[in-house]
Symmetry: C2
Subunit: 329 residues, 2 copies
């Protein structure tokens, strides 16, 4: 009889352009992460098949290492019914409607599966192994294409009464502000996400502003990205610097409101947009200092995430371990 | 030996103009409430003496009824250090700085004392015996001179990491909006509190608008009150109707953001301003429907408080009972 070396969990981060998955140890270490591109093949059956194939493959590989995979944790975008383990709908996957993801996977994998919202999983990852270690309450804001959020209170994810909590990207930061993808005006996401910043850049160009973004994008507005805006800002482009400053200003307004409402110990900012930290953070801090109570400003830590791309995988795996009683947090 | 009829608690609501206190039974019934006016005598020793005298008086009265007072619960405005039972500072009482209210009262009264923020106590009162009975998560917004808030999650008050959570009145609802008492611009309180509405009225009058508020106030802007604005609106005064509509609009913007962040089961609106419900609520609902996710709008109840003036007393008493294990919620 083979002796089991270690119990491990497979963490999965289901994103709009890739499925990322990895073995995660009980100490939160990531082993051999994989990235399965799904751009253009986002339909349900393809994604389910890819997940199942890769989990089973990792499971047998771990077996040869004498590690035992005991559970799967998955972080997925979309609105989730946590009691049923169902994806009600997902912005990234239009054909996902009431998909019983947890039971589908459990049946195929013969393993317990924990299903969590992607931003919540990332928040839990940062709490367990990242910037929020030892912190009891935090709000993790994921700044990428959109702005997601995960709220940890007393060490646990706050899901809300109907599983829809933590949507900090859709706080109104300016009632008459630009239209957001959600249909509302002036959401934080409409200013401070990659999408919001690109919209700002296109408006500036269409308004006749001089900017090296025109050169960098080859004159094609559709090619402008948040990363390009950051690069232009690094080269001193004033339009791009203003866009990042404005993104920071509205981020600061949202953070000050969150501090008044929840008074968390820490705010963790993560996601691709945080690469431009030095450009947006001074404006954000200025607003926080202007708007929040002095005692809160002094006591609340506002920090970048530490796990970068792996927060979601680590968090989803940690939640699966917590479910099994393997992790006390 | 006298047989004890019932164990009761004394609930205290410490307000800017009065101390209100009452015996509260384990079933949440209020017996013989008292109101001790303190306007003009808000200094610390006077308030402490008044509280102690009245609690001891009620205690001996309850004794003749063979009820046993087993604890005191007090809801106080201001920033509170919950671990120490200290009032760090209070907007209503300028000479209160680091007052160890809990230990001062416990020593004089020979009873266990539970100290809570006034808005949190009101939220707990509504959860225990008011609009929020049976509800697991709610946000109670107290709309009076200012706008306070209490957040109940999983049946418990969320204090925040430093005891400063629930300050929903200081969410920014319009970054360039009017100056708030807190020093920030465009807080919810600057629009939708009694103070905010009076400011709006004075601005309208100074701007030359025709309104019966001039007649009702005898031409003295300092005499305008939120109640007067409500009365004028009932008489069809368009300036007053607009003020209440604007207050509702910004309230709705704040509620939609709170729903996105916390997705509570219920929002309870209480305080004197809610008397004008029919004037501000349609505008508030319109903003919520425009801004919040459809599924949230359908599922979240937005209701008026049920305990009116006694939410704070009932809540403070309930928290004291909870502390003693007499109340499971």
């Amino acid at each position: 009889m083979k002796k089991i070396q270690e119990e491990v969990v497979i963490g999965i981060d289901l994103g709009g352009s890739a499925i990322r998955l990895s073995t995660v140890t009980k100490r939160g270490r990531i082993i051999n992460p994989r990235r399965i591109g799904i751009a253009g093949r986002r339909y349900k059956d393809h994604i389910l098949t890819s997940i199942i194939y890769n989990v089973l493959d990792i499971k047998s590989l771990e077996n040869t290492r004498r590690n035992k995979v005991v559970a799967v944790g998955i972080g997925s975008p979309g609105i989730i019914d946590f009691s049923k383990g169902t994806i009600i709908s997902s912005p990234n996957f239009p054909d996902w409607k009431d998909v019983p993801l947890r039971s589908l996977l459990e049946r195929s994998l013969d393993l317990p599966v924990t299903l969590e919202n992607d931003a919540n999983a990332a928040a839990f990852g940062e709490k367990w192994k990242g910037a929020g270690r030892g912190v009891n309450s935090l709000i993790c804001m994921t700044m990428g294409t959109g702005i997601g959020g995960g709220i940890i209170l007393n060490g646990n994810i706050w899901h809300g009464a109907h599983g829809m909590g933590g949507e900090v990207g859709h706080m109104t930061v300016n009632p008459e502000g630009p239209l957001c993808n959600c249909g509302n005006n002036g959401c934080l996401e409409a200013y401070s996400s990659a999408t919001g910043m690109v919209r700002s850049a296109v408006e500036s160009i269409n308004g006749g502003k001089r900017t090296i973004l025109i050169k960098l994008s080859g004159g094609d507005n559709n090619k402008i990205t948040a990363k390009m805006i950051h690069e232009a800002a690094l080269q001193g482009d004033s339009v791009s610097i203003n866009i990042l400053t404005e993104a920071g200003k509205y981020l600061g307004i949202a953070i000050a409101s969150l501090m008044h409402i929840l008074n968390p110990e820490m705010i963790v900012l993560t996601g691709a947009v945080t690469g431009a930290w030095d450009f947006f953070m001074p404006a954000a801090k200025k607003e926080v200092e202007k708007r929040a109570y002095k005692a809160m400003v002094e006591k609340t830590k506002i920090v970048p995430g530490m796990l970068i791309d792996s927060a979601g995988i680590v968090g989803a795996a940690g939640l699966a371990m917590k479910q099994l009683g393997l992790l006390k947090l």
